[in-house]
């Protein structure tokens, strides 16, 4: 599908688990990106 069945809200989600990770220094320095995680989970949901 060209049109994904979801839109990644840039206002961010209520996701304490991910929020906590993306605040960690070693995650920030590694290039960790919450939007990549959200994209993956939403893709698995709408595949």
């Amino acid at each position: 599908d060209i049109h994904k069945r979801y839109t990644l809200t840039d206002s961010g989600y209520f996701d304490p688990f991910i929020k906590e990770l993306e605040a960690k220094k070693e995650y920030i320095a590694s290039g960790f990106r919450a939007d990549y995680v959200y994209d993956r989970m939403l893709t698995e949901a709408f595949m």
Binding site: Y6, T7, T9, Y13, F14, D15, P16, Y38, R40, M41, L42, T43, E44, A45, F46, M47
Partner: protein, 280 residues
């Protein structure tokens, strides 16, 4: 998902799945009877009593017995993985591998006990959670030889397909999307609790044949529906326009697309309810 090996090789209709198990059991039963006959011919000295015992006891297991035995071991592998503190996805993959193995082999070929640790060890490797065979043998009080003995047989029986899509990630995805679609109408703390309960339901669902009849997201939605019917129905209605025979509110939207969406939505809801029944 349609390109995935999980869909291409490991999804069936209930009839196909049932027939598959019957065929596997029949082939193994035939072999068992063959072996028994040869055994008797090779052992003329058997007494009548022994022969009678053979008649009574040495009979092939039935399809139902196989199914129960395999699921017992699948349940065990998940709880054993929990004791070893292996990640949820590794445990799920191990259960998936074990159950798929017995969609190609019969328990009369290789008893589940013999393949149990091999499956868990191989699932760790496949899910990048590598544990050396020595330390794995120590943790499981088994031996490297017994763990590695059937590794090839397992990989071959899995038809060399190792990628698993488990419903856990889809659960995370719907947890996010429900926030978007039901913006402001759902208590997020409560959602966290729903999330945890659904994870447990999904783990149980992995032991049912739902994994062969439905896609991971459908299993997730069934778990959500089971957990909170009102919340999930509301979400699906808004997401897939399943408005009960109401005309289109906003006149400008295209009736064709909307009706298509409604059709899909209604069909999806039916599938999810069906899935929920099987899981329950």
């Amino acid at each position: 998902y349609r390109h995935s090996s999980q869909y291409r090789l490991w999804s069936f209709t209930p009839e196909q799945l049932n027939q598959r198990r019957i065929d596997i059991n029949a082939r193994a039963a035939l072999r068992t009877d063959q072996n028994l006959k040869e055994f008797k011919e090779a052992h003329k000295e058997l007494t009548d009593e022994e022969l009678t015992a053979l008649e009574l006891k040495a009979v092939p297991v039935t399809v139902e017995e196989e199914y129960m035995l395999v699921n017992y071991y699948a349940k065990m592998i998940i709880s054993f993985a929990g004791k070893m503190n292996l990640p949820t996805e590794v445990a799920a993959t191990a259960a998936s591998f074990l159950r798929r193995f017995y969609l190609v082999n019969s328990v009369m070929d290789i008893v589940p006990k013999e393949i149990f640790y091999t499956t868990l060890f191989f699932a760790c490797k496949s899910e990048n959670y590598f544990i050396g065979v020595e330390s794995f043998a120590k943790k499981t009080k088994s031996t490297p030889e017994s763990i590695l003995k059937h590794e090839f047989k397992l990989l071959e029986s899995l038809q060399f397909t190792l990628m698993n899509h488990h419903p856990y990630k889809a659960l995370h995805g719907f947890f996010l999307d429900i926030q978007t679609v039901l913006q402001g109408k759902v208590d997020l703390k409560y959602m966290g609790q729903v999330y945890n309960n659904c994870k447990k339901t999904i783990t149980d669902a992995l032991l049912t044949d739902a994994v062969y009849f439905f896609t991971p997201p459908q299993i997730t939605l069934a778990a959500l529906l089971r957990e909170d019917e009102a919340l999930t129905s509301k979400y699906l209605e808004l997401k897939f326009n399943i408005i009960k025979d109401a005309p289109n509110e906003d006149g400008n939207s295209d009736p064709i697309i909307d009706s298509q969406k409604r059709l899909n939505g209604r069909k999806l809801l039916e599938i999810i309810r069906n899935c929920k029944e099987i899981i329950s």
